[in-house]
Subunit: 351 residues, 4 copies
């Protein structure tokens, strides 16, 4: 297995389990000379951490960014940059009673099937905690992209069936669900709080917009820009679907509607979501992901133990009733990583 | 760029353009001793070829499978297996008038931006013809999977807004749209024929079901089974979205609904689509892809020429008004490739 | 197995067996716009072909270069470039009597052990014929390097114990052994002819010099320039050793002798062979490889059959009594491939 | 750059600089269930550490093995195993006077050329300290190999021109130069001590023997077992050459001498060094590497500063006058990594 690396020229390798000592990442391919420090990365970690509001887990995972290698006198040296995030506020004993049980919706059963053994504490490597390393790495990619005028922003478009009807980018960081619609946001919050109160959870839809990518980025025919973004997003635990531009709606459109015409100023529409033939068009890159409801709920559920015995399980712990607000920075991070990697690949092609 | 390879242990590298001499593929990692011949592969090529019915392109691309290497006395030797599909019935002159224009929906603009030059004839490398090589390679993977009792079947679930309401697997190859619903199929055909008659096109939704995969297959955290399937599918030109199991509907469900409970006989539902934590559960793997309407339409469209001059363009040629029927075997092929690769990776992990 | 690809950004994947239809290569990552044609590549193929003189195999493998994809109007499109070299003058029946025997020095035994079956005809994939594809790909890399003022030249330094004592680059292509020493060359020829006459063979040493590589090329810590060159060279069937700069002599030097001092004009010596810390210094890159004596000899040798039965074997066929003259272009080709790839990787690092 | 990873299925990614916080490694692909602990790894670290005797650097780099992830209840989980070795006894100020100078033999000049900036302290990433991470990872691979009855042993064959004339494996760990010849060992020590006393250094030759590898391991045509070993060894800073079996001597042999005959008991000689056609024969795998004299010497040397100004430099610090004794475990580690990876690749091929 070398499934713990992502990217080719801006390549990350992550490690760590929920209840081990730390999670972290090695980034290989950071442009030498890039100015970056822990404070810059910390901003993104803080957007992902739990305990930010009433709608997220009350756990105290303050992820202090610690750079171990690859930086000298404030600049990237071009050698591997390692970032470690020590695990804090762990309560492994909270998982004792599910040590030999498979929690519905969790990877308990599949990890045991794959590996033959598993670290059951807080889902081990399958924990959402693993995404902390992605966010740290993504921040480094983001710094690189900023220098080329590229920005990446994601936001909650829908939660528990409550859809946004307006888009105001300024709103996103102003409400705890990271919605861009100030009318929908409180309804989403209410929905989450209600579900939390009855021990249930919900999912949602997150949209991501990447601006400023020059036309020409992407690697046909298999490593297309959208194909890599799809892999990146679906590799996030809770994501069950992705669509670009018009997406599944495109399936119901006619060619004459869906095709984006051009005039001298550029594209007149963006049903393609900024990518045609797997290559950026120069328009905004737009995609949406489907986020499933959090698997950890306190409602009783039917399951089995490792020995096959049936049981009713109640997942205790301090979980997010809806992961959308905290998945937003993870999605942005993965998008940054994909774009940074593809830009480097384009440079190699033309060298 | 090495974006023309896919897979790690069952690895394909494809080549060829629409109007070059041939398209083809090298497969590296075929299990030595596998019995395979051209006739077996030809079955899949014939499912993909144009000219099968009134709803597909009338082009005559009979793709004769030609194995160049890697087979000795009817068995795979374990060395690279090369399959070539010579291009036939090419009419490059049909593209002369669009040599310097960007057809809406096509990769003309983006290829020029990426590479600085392009082979405009029939979209060159960006042509759907490139998928012929995928289907050939997929057939080899399929042969391997058959030996493990794994089957892969895809079908058209929706076309032009007409959704299936029943599923009968036996129907799929009996109608030209490859629908599993014998009531919906004629309506889909009618829709396509109507749009073709007015020079327009439509898209649809294709569902794929993979049966017989043992639990435990998939490579967290980045090369998860669903992540690789997503990359594989989105790398197909016309695909704009993918969802697993409940997919985007999961975004509207509660955890108590979405979580798949288990009893001693296994999972009681399959909202996860057969994959949890990026690893197969043993249940059917189910995903759907959104297929955009064919870009080539004969309705006049607004675009520009390479020199920036605006023009109205009419895409001539012999195109599919809806690519769903012919994308079905491509989707199956890519699914076979992903699963074969992941099974080999699992074997390596435990060696 | 995906051991049939080499390089990351200028990446080749080869295929084909000695007595199959063809050998060939897909090159992924050719710089778009590169002007290249079959005639340019043919020059290198002609340097490698057998039958050039009395010291090489009399086989008639005229390798006609056939470009199948990746070129449009004389320029590389940046999409996969495929080159096919059809096999000619095959005499598979010549191998009938060794179908179930292991020829000493050949990979017959090991291929059977690895794959469980083998194509015995002319060594199948293990044949030196496989290097034809490398030479074709190397020619494309060479064209790219020429544009940056980089040249790659190899020559026979020693054959059958007869060492060169002078170096005149102009001599190399003037004698059939490709020696740079006009005094040693005829002695080498005589040695080879003598050994051929008694059914034996010999090896030699080939040196390669790469000029014009800017300082700064190479990818620590594992993909160092010398590490990649070493892998490339040792992957050639007959090569049993490689040394850089002072090489094994360095093991007998003192630091004060071996270290290359610098002054304002650059390095004052080049014991390092142009690479320090895995990165080019700007000085000539110099390495030597040990070439083993050709395994195919007509002297009787002791071996066993697949069933374990002992036998005395005589390897018939039309073999090179010394492969050095023909390995020279293969070594150059691999060197070109490594350098082209590393230059592209450097471009990606700084993007 | 992703040159900091090695291997495909047993894949390591290393990080860290000489005078940063730590060096370390992520190992991806450890067989789940493997029993391993820090003490086992520590044994190899202790063989590599400086300060073991009068012939090595007096630095106190006690490398305490610290496993951060991938182990649960004493067994590998199959998820990334991370090992960190904190840097101790650093004296960065010792390097202040060479901050802007290029030390002869060191990668100071080339790192600056490649990256545009450099961490000059103790050579930064180019330090031999980087190999500590390799040794830690190699110990994990060794544990895996032990279970298959594979052993890997290296020893000093020659130092400063003093060659061994006998081989007694039991002697290796009994003398500080790790020679297998108890007569030569004291002479080697004397030689090193003499050179150290005059501020100079020397190199040597190290041989490695891998026993117990089944026939059939190795991945033609580029990732051959010997090709991967060559890359692995040449990627070690001080190594300037490698030869397999008869090696450069093969260049002076005739085919009838060099070919290894077989009888019913196996091979009657092992000039091939246990690898033919890039695949293990089942015989011992034998190779030798050329180790250059340590670059850091206290004799005055001519060099330049970053600004081009000429100067005479004296490299201070606590350096090894001969690195052979300490490179032995590094070579073994890299050999273990290569073999473990190739065994896993073979398993994937046949899955």
């Amino acid at each position: 297995m070398s499934g713990n690396s992502f990217g080719e020229r801006f390549r990350i390798t992550t490690f760590g389990e929920s209840h081990g000592e730390a999670v972290g990442v090695i980034i290989d391919g950071v442009t030498p000379g890039l100015t970056i420090d822990e404070a810059y990365i910390q901003i993104q970690m803080d957007r992902r951490k739990p305990g930010q509001s009433s709608v997220t887990s009350p756990r105290k995972e303050y992820d202090h960014v610690h750079i171990v290698s690859g930086i000298y006198e404030g600049k990237a040296t071009g050698t591997p940059m390692t970032i470690v995030l020590y695990n804090k506020d762990m309560r492994p004993e909270a998982y004792d009673d599910i040590k030999h049980s498979f929690r519905p919706g969790h990877a308990d059963f599949t990890y045991l099937q794959k590996y033959g053994l598993r670290d059951h504490r807080g889902s081990g490597r399958a924990s959402g905690r693993e995404t902390a390393a992605r966010v740290a790495a993504g921040a480094v990619a983001r710094k690189l992209l900023e220098q080329s005028g590229i920005s990446v922003v994601a936001y909650t478009k829908e939660i528990g069936g409550i859809a946004s009807t307006s888009f105001n980018e300024q709103e996103i960081e102003r409400n705890p669900v990271r919605a861009a619609d100030p009318i929908a946001a409180p309804k989403m919050i209410e929905k989450i709080e209600h579900l939390a109160s009855i021990g249930d959870s919900c999912g949602g839809v997150v949209e991501c917009i990447i601006r400023g990518v020059d036309p020409g980025i992407g690697e046909p025919v298999f490593d297309k820009l959208d194909a890599e973004l799809a892999k990146a997003m679906i590799s996030i635990g809770a994501v069950k679907g992705i669509e670009f531009g018009a997406g599944f709606e495109a399936a119901r459109m006619q060619g004459s509607e869906h095709n984006d015409p051009m005039n001298a100023d550029g594209f007149l529409s963006n049903h393609a979501g900024g990518i045609i033939g797997g290559i950026s068009t120069g328009a905004d890159i737009v995609f949406r992901v489907a986020v499933k409801p959090t698997s950890s709920i306190s409602k009783p559920q039917q399951t089995i133990r490792e020995n096959g015995e049936e049981q009713v399980i109640v997942t205790r712990g301090r979980h997010d009733p809806c992961i959308c607000p905290r998945i937003v920075p993870v999605i942005e991070a993965m998008a940054c990583l994909v774009v940074a990697d593809q830009i480097k690949r384009q440079a190699a092609l033309h060298a």
